[in-house]
Symmetry: C2
Subunit: 162 residues, 2 copies
Protein backbone atom coordinates (compact mmCIF):
# COMPACT_ATOMS: atom_id res chain seq x y z
CA UNK A 1 0.00 0.00 0.00
CA UNK A 2 2.76 2.40 1.00
CA UNK A 3 4.68 1.39 -2.12
CA UNK A 4 1.64 2.18 -4.25
CA UNK A 5 1.41 5.64 -2.67
CA UNK A 6 5.08 6.29 -3.33
CA UNK A 7 4.61 5.29 -6.94
CA UNK A 8 1.69 7.69 -7.21
CA UNK A 9 3.84 10.49 -5.83
CA UNK A 10 6.63 9.60 -8.22
CA UNK A 11 4.24 9.94 -11.15
CA UNK A 12 2.86 13.30 -10.00
CA UNK A 13 5.37 15.49 -11.92
CA UNK A 14 4.48 13.65 -15.12
CA UNK A 15 0.79 14.23 -14.54
CA UNK A 16 1.32 17.92 -13.81
CA UNK A 17 3.22 18.50 -17.05
CA UNK A 18 0.77 16.46 -19.11
CA UNK A 19 -1.40 19.46 -20.18
CA UNK A 20 1.55 20.67 -22.25
CA UNK A 21 1.46 17.50 -24.34
CA UNK A 22 3.41 14.30 -24.20
CA UNK A 23 6.49 15.29 -26.15
CA UNK A 24 9.74 13.51 -25.43
CA UNK A 25 11.39 16.92 -25.07
CA UNK A 26 9.14 18.25 -22.32
CA UNK A 27 11.19 21.39 -21.77
CA UNK A 28 9.78 23.24 -24.76
CA UNK A 29 6.55 24.63 -23.29
CA UNK A 30 8.14 25.72 -20.01
CA UNK A 31 11.02 27.37 -21.90
CA UNK A 32 8.57 29.18 -24.17
CA UNK A 33 6.42 30.46 -21.30
CA UNK A 34 9.57 31.51 -19.43
CA UNK A 35 10.86 33.40 -22.49
CA UNK A 36 7.53 35.22 -22.84
CA UNK A 37 7.41 36.04 -19.11
CA UNK A 38 10.93 37.41 -19.23
CA UNK A 39 9.96 39.71 -22.11
CA UNK A 40 6.78 40.77 -20.26
CA UNK A 41 8.78 41.51 -17.09
CA UNK A 42 11.13 43.80 -19.00
CA UNK A 43 8.25 45.41 -20.93
CA UNK A 44 6.51 46.26 -17.64
CA UNK A 45 9.67 48.07 -16.57
CA UNK A 46 9.78 50.15 -19.72
CA UNK A 47 12.25 47.96 -21.61
CA UNK A 48 11.09 46.79 -25.06
CA UNK A 49 14.39 44.96 -25.71
CA UNK A 50 13.05 41.82 -24.06
CA UNK A 51 10.56 41.33 -26.87
CA UNK A 52 12.92 42.59 -29.56
CA UNK A 53 15.55 40.05 -28.49
CA UNK A 54 13.22 37.06 -28.94
CA UNK A 55 11.65 38.20 -32.24
CA UNK A 56 12.84 36.29 -35.30
CA UNK A 57 14.07 38.32 -38.30
CA UNK A 58 10.82 37.54 -40.17
CA UNK A 59 8.46 38.29 -37.25
CA UNK A 60 4.95 39.44 -38.13
CA UNK A 61 2.87 41.45 -35.67
CA UNK A 62 -0.60 42.84 -34.96
CA UNK A 63 -1.68 45.15 -32.16
CA UNK A 64 -4.77 47.37 -31.69
CA UNK A 65 -2.86 50.54 -32.55
CA UNK A 66 -1.74 49.86 -36.12
CA UNK A 67 -3.61 50.15 -39.42
CA UNK A 68 -2.09 46.93 -40.71
CA UNK A 69 0.29 44.07 -39.94
CA UNK A 70 3.90 44.95 -39.15
CA UNK A 71 6.46 42.78 -40.97
CA UNK A 72 10.04 42.11 -39.95
CA UNK A 73 12.38 42.83 -37.05
CA UNK A 74 13.54 46.22 -38.37
CA UNK A 75 9.97 47.48 -38.48
CA UNK A 76 9.37 46.13 -34.97
CA UNK A 77 12.45 47.93 -33.66
CA UNK A 78 11.17 51.15 -35.21
CA UNK A 79 7.79 50.57 -33.56
CA UNK A 80 8.87 49.53 -30.06
CA UNK A 81 12.22 51.25 -29.44
CA UNK A 82 10.60 54.71 -28.98
CA UNK A 83 8.47 53.25 -26.17
CA UNK A 84 11.50 52.66 -23.95
CA UNK A 85 10.90 54.16 -20.53
CA UNK A 86 7.28 55.02 -21.30
CA UNK A 87 5.60 51.83 -20.09
CA UNK A 88 4.97 50.88 -16.47
CA UNK A 89 3.11 47.74 -15.50
CA UNK A 90 3.44 47.05 -11.78
CA UNK A 91 2.20 43.47 -11.99
CA UNK A 92 0.56 41.15 -14.49
CA UNK A 93 -1.31 37.88 -14.48
CA UNK A 94 -0.67 35.48 -17.36
CA UNK A 95 -3.94 33.56 -17.36
CA UNK A 96 -4.24 29.97 -18.56
CA UNK A 97 -1.18 29.86 -20.85
CA UNK A 98 -1.41 27.06 -23.41
CA UNK A 99 1.31 25.78 -25.73
CA UNK A 100 0.38 23.86 -28.88
CA UNK A 101 3.70 22.48 -30.00
CA UNK A 102 4.41 20.62 -33.21
CA UNK A 103 8.10 19.95 -33.71
CA UNK A 104 10.01 23.20 -33.95
CA UNK A 105 6.92 25.42 -34.04
CA UNK A 106 4.79 26.22 -30.98
CA UNK A 107 1.74 28.42 -30.50
CA UNK A 108 1.55 30.10 -27.08
CA UNK A 109 -1.79 31.69 -26.19
CA UNK A 110 -2.90 33.35 -22.97
CA UNK A 111 -4.98 36.15 -21.53
CA UNK A 112 -3.05 38.87 -19.77
CA UNK A 113 -4.20 41.31 -17.10
CA UNK A 114 -1.98 44.32 -16.40
CA UNK A 115 -2.19 45.96 -12.97
CA UNK A 116 -1.14 49.38 -11.79
CA UNK A 117 -0.55 50.48 -8.21
CA UNK A 118 -2.80 53.33 -7.15
CA UNK A 119 -1.85 56.26 -4.92
CA UNK A 120 -3.56 54.58 -1.95
CA UNK A 121 -1.45 51.43 -2.44
CA UNK A 122 -4.25 49.36 -3.94
CA UNK A 123 -3.99 47.61 -7.31
CA UNK A 124 -6.14 48.27 -10.34
CA UNK A 125 -6.51 46.20 -13.52
CA UNK A 126 -5.64 48.66 -16.28
CA UNK A 127 -5.57 46.45 -19.38
CA UNK A 128 -6.88 43.03 -20.42
CA UNK A 129 -5.32 41.36 -23.44
CA UNK A 130 -5.71 38.39 -25.73
CA UNK A 131 -2.20 37.31 -26.70
CA UNK A 132 -0.96 34.94 -29.38
CA UNK A 133 2.77 34.30 -29.79
CA UNK A 134 3.98 31.77 -32.35
CA UNK A 135 7.48 30.51 -31.66
CA UNK A 136 9.94 28.69 -33.85
CA UNK A 137 13.07 26.97 -32.61
CA UNK A 138 16.00 28.43 -34.52
CA UNK A 139 19.52 27.23 -33.69
CA UNK A 140 18.20 25.74 -30.45
CA UNK A 141 16.47 28.93 -29.28
CA UNK A 142 12.75 29.70 -29.34
CA UNK A 143 12.09 32.84 -31.36
CA UNK A 144 8.78 34.63 -31.95
CA UNK A 145 7.77 34.50 -35.62
CA UNK A 146 4.32 36.02 -35.04
CA UNK A 147 2.67 38.03 -32.26
CA UNK A 148 -0.94 39.24 -32.07
CA UNK A 149 -2.14 41.49 -29.24
CA UNK A 150 -5.78 42.52 -28.89
CA UNK A 151 -8.08 43.99 -26.25
CA UNK A 152 -10.44 41.67 -24.38
CA UNK A 153 -14.03 42.71 -25.17
CA UNK A 154 -13.28 46.32 -26.08
CA UNK A 155 -16.22 48.65 -25.61
CA UNK A 156 -16.05 50.12 -29.07
CA UNK A 157 -17.67 53.40 -30.05
CA UNK A 158 -20.43 52.53 -32.49
CA UNK A 159 -18.86 54.73 -35.17
CA UNK A 160 -15.93 52.35 -35.45
CA UNK A 161 -18.17 49.59 -36.68
CA UNK A 162 -19.99 51.57 -39.34
CA UNK B 1 16.83 38.31 -77.87
CA UNK B 2 13.45 36.72 -78.50
CA UNK B 3 14.66 33.57 -76.81
CA UNK B 4 15.68 35.59 -73.76
CA UNK B 5 12.21 37.14 -73.60
CA UNK B 6 10.59 33.73 -73.81
CA UNK B 7 12.78 32.53 -70.97
CA UNK B 8 11.76 35.52 -68.92
CA UNK B 9 8.10 34.73 -69.52
CA UNK B 10 8.68 31.09 -68.61
CA UNK B 11 10.17 32.16 -65.26
CA UNK B 12 7.34 34.55 -64.45
CA UNK B 13 5.16 32.04 -62.55
CA UNK B 14 8.13 31.18 -60.32
CA UNK B 15 8.75 34.82 -59.57
CA UNK B 16 5.10 35.44 -58.76
CA UNK B 17 5.00 32.62 -56.22
CA UNK B 18 8.35 33.55 -54.66
CA UNK B 19 6.90 35.76 -51.86
CA UNK B 20 5.37 32.64 -50.33
CA UNK B 21 8.82 31.19 -49.73
CA UNK B 22 10.97 28.76 -51.63
CA UNK B 23 9.58 25.49 -50.38
CA UNK B 24 9.85 22.44 -52.58
CA UNK B 25 6.13 21.90 -52.02
CA UNK B 26 4.99 25.27 -53.26
CA UNK B 27 1.29 24.41 -53.08
CA UNK B 28 1.01 24.86 -49.32
CA UNK B 29 0.51 28.64 -49.12
CA UNK B 30 -1.97 28.78 -52.00
CA UNK B 31 -3.93 25.88 -50.52
CA UNK B 32 -3.99 27.56 -47.12
CA UNK B 33 -5.18 30.89 -48.49
CA UNK B 34 -7.79 29.10 -50.60
CA UNK B 35 -9.04 27.19 -47.55
CA UNK B 36 -9.37 30.42 -45.57
CA UNK B 37 -11.12 32.19 -48.46
CA UNK B 38 -13.57 29.34 -48.82
CA UNK B 39 -14.42 29.59 -45.11
CA UNK B 40 -14.76 33.40 -45.39
CA UNK B 41 -17.04 33.04 -48.41
CA UNK B 42 -19.37 30.74 -46.52
CA UNK B 43 -19.21 32.89 -43.38
CA UNK B 44 -20.28 35.94 -45.39
CA UNK B 45 -23.32 33.98 -46.52
CA UNK B 46 -24.32 33.12 -42.97
CA UNK B 47 -22.71 29.65 -42.92
CA UNK B 48 -20.27 29.04 -40.05
CA UNK B 49 -19.65 25.44 -41.16
CA UNK B 50 -16.85 26.55 -43.47
CA UNK B 51 -14.70 27.53 -40.50
CA UNK B 52 -15.91 24.66 -38.33
CA UNK B 53 -14.90 22.16 -41.03
CA UNK B 54 -11.28 23.36 -41.16
CA UNK B 55 -10.78 23.70 -37.39
CA UNK B 56 -8.62 20.98 -35.82
CA UNK B 57 -10.02 19.16 -32.76
CA UNK B 58 -7.63 21.11 -30.50
CA UNK B 59 -8.27 24.54 -32.07
CA UNK B 60 -7.78 27.57 -29.82
CA UNK B 61 -9.52 30.87 -30.57
CA UNK B 62 -9.70 34.55 -29.64
CA UNK B 63 -12.17 37.17 -30.86
CA UNK B 64 -13.17 40.61 -29.50
CA UNK B 65 -16.42 39.31 -28.02
CA UNK B 66 -15.19 36.73 -25.50
CA UNK B 67 -13.84 37.12 -21.98
CA UNK B 68 -11.14 34.53 -22.58
CA UNK B 69 -9.67 32.07 -25.07
CA UNK B 70 -12.00 29.39 -26.45
CA UNK B 71 -10.47 25.88 -26.46
CA UNK B 72 -11.47 22.96 -28.65
CA UNK B 73 -13.77 22.20 -31.56
CA UNK B 74 -16.82 21.43 -29.39
CA UNK B 75 -16.61 24.85 -27.76
CA UNK B 76 -16.20 26.47 -31.20
CA UNK B 77 -19.29 24.68 -32.49
CA UNK B 78 -21.26 25.94 -29.50
CA UNK B 79 -19.98 29.46 -30.19
CA UNK B 80 -20.46 29.65 -33.97
CA UNK B 81 -23.36 27.33 -34.77
CA UNK B 82 -25.98 29.74 -33.32
CA UNK B 83 -24.73 32.42 -35.74
CA UNK B 84 -25.94 30.46 -38.79
CA UNK B 85 -28.05 32.71 -41.00
CA UNK B 86 -27.29 35.81 -38.92
CA UNK B 87 -24.20 37.05 -40.78
CA UNK B 88 -24.16 38.85 -44.14
CA UNK B 89 -20.98 40.16 -45.69
CA UNK B 90 -21.57 41.19 -49.31
CA UNK B 91 -17.88 41.36 -50.20
CA UNK B 92 -14.52 41.30 -48.47
CA UNK B 93 -10.95 42.21 -49.24
CA UNK B 94 -8.23 39.94 -47.88
CA UNK B 95 -5.33 42.39 -47.70
CA UNK B 96 -1.71 41.36 -48.02
CA UNK B 97 -2.02 37.70 -46.94
CA UNK B 98 1.27 36.23 -45.77
CA UNK B 99 2.09 32.61 -45.03
CA UNK B 100 5.04 31.73 -42.78
CA UNK B 101 5.40 28.01 -43.31
CA UNK B 102 7.72 25.69 -41.46
CA UNK B 103 7.12 22.06 -42.35
CA UNK B 104 3.61 21.01 -41.40
CA UNK B 105 2.78 24.24 -39.55
CA UNK B 106 1.96 27.52 -41.29
CA UNK B 107 0.96 30.93 -39.95
CA UNK B 108 -1.45 32.85 -42.20
CA UNK B 109 -1.90 36.54 -41.39
CA UNK B 110 -3.91 39.18 -43.20
CA UNK B 111 -6.05 42.25 -42.75
CA UNK B 112 -9.67 41.87 -43.73
CA UNK B 113 -12.19 44.52 -44.76
CA UNK B 114 -15.86 43.52 -44.81
CA UNK B 115 -18.22 45.45 -47.08
CA UNK B 116 -22.00 45.79 -47.05
CA UNK B 117 -24.20 46.96 -49.90
CA UNK B 118 -26.21 50.03 -49.03
CA UNK B 119 -29.80 50.76 -50.10
CA UNK B 120 -28.52 53.07 -52.86
CA UNK B 121 -26.37 50.26 -54.29
CA UNK B 122 -23.10 51.69 -52.99
CA UNK B 123 -20.67 49.69 -50.83
CA UNK B 124 -19.61 50.54 -47.33
CA UNK B 125 -16.73 49.12 -45.27
CA UNK B 126 -18.42 47.82 -42.14
CA UNK B 127 -15.61 46.00 -40.34
CA UNK B 128 -11.80 45.96 -40.42
CA UNK B 129 -10.01 42.99 -38.90
CA UNK B 130 -6.57 41.74 -37.98
CA UNK B 131 -6.60 37.99 -38.57
CA UNK B 132 -4.17 35.26 -37.55
CA UNK B 133 -4.83 31.65 -38.52
CA UNK B 134 -2.28 28.98 -37.65
CA UNK B 135 -2.64 25.85 -39.76
CA UNK B 136 -1.26 22.36 -39.29
CA UNK B 137 -1.22 19.69 -41.96
CA UNK B 138 -3.04 16.67 -40.55
CA UNK B 139 -3.47 13.61 -42.77
CA UNK B 140 -2.59 15.73 -45.80
CA UNK B 141 -5.15 18.48 -45.06
CA UNK B 142 -4.48 21.91 -43.63
CA UNK B 143 -6.43 22.41 -40.41
CA UNK B 144 -6.66 25.53 -38.23
CA UNK B 145 -5.13 24.93 -34.80
CA UNK B 146 -5.40 28.59 -33.72
CA UNK B 147 -7.39 31.61 -34.85
CA UNK B 148 -7.21 35.17 -33.50
CA UNK B 149 -9.58 37.90 -34.72
CA UNK B 150 -9.30 41.50 -33.56
CA UNK B 151 -10.55 44.93 -34.62
CA UNK B 152 -8.17 47.23 -36.48
CA UNK B 153 -7.57 50.34 -34.35
CA UNK B 154 -10.78 50.15 -32.35
CA UNK B 155 -11.93 53.49 -30.98
CA UNK B 156 -12.30 52.30 -27.45
CA UNK B 157 -14.36 54.11 -24.84
CA UNK B 158 -11.89 55.38 -22.28
CA UNK B 159 -13.60 53.46 -19.49
CA UNK B 160 -12.44 50.19 -21.05
CA UNK B 161 -8.81 51.06 -20.48
CA UNK B 162 -9.12 52.11 -16.85
Amino acid sequence: MLLAMLWTLALLPLVLTAPFGGHADGKGPEEIIAAERSALDRWGNGDPQGFLEIYAPDVTYFDPFGERRVDGLSAMKALLAPMAGKIKVDRYDMLNPKVQRHGDVAVLTYNLVDYSKQADGSEKAIMRWNSTAVFRRIDGKWRTIHSHWSFVKPEVKQATLQ
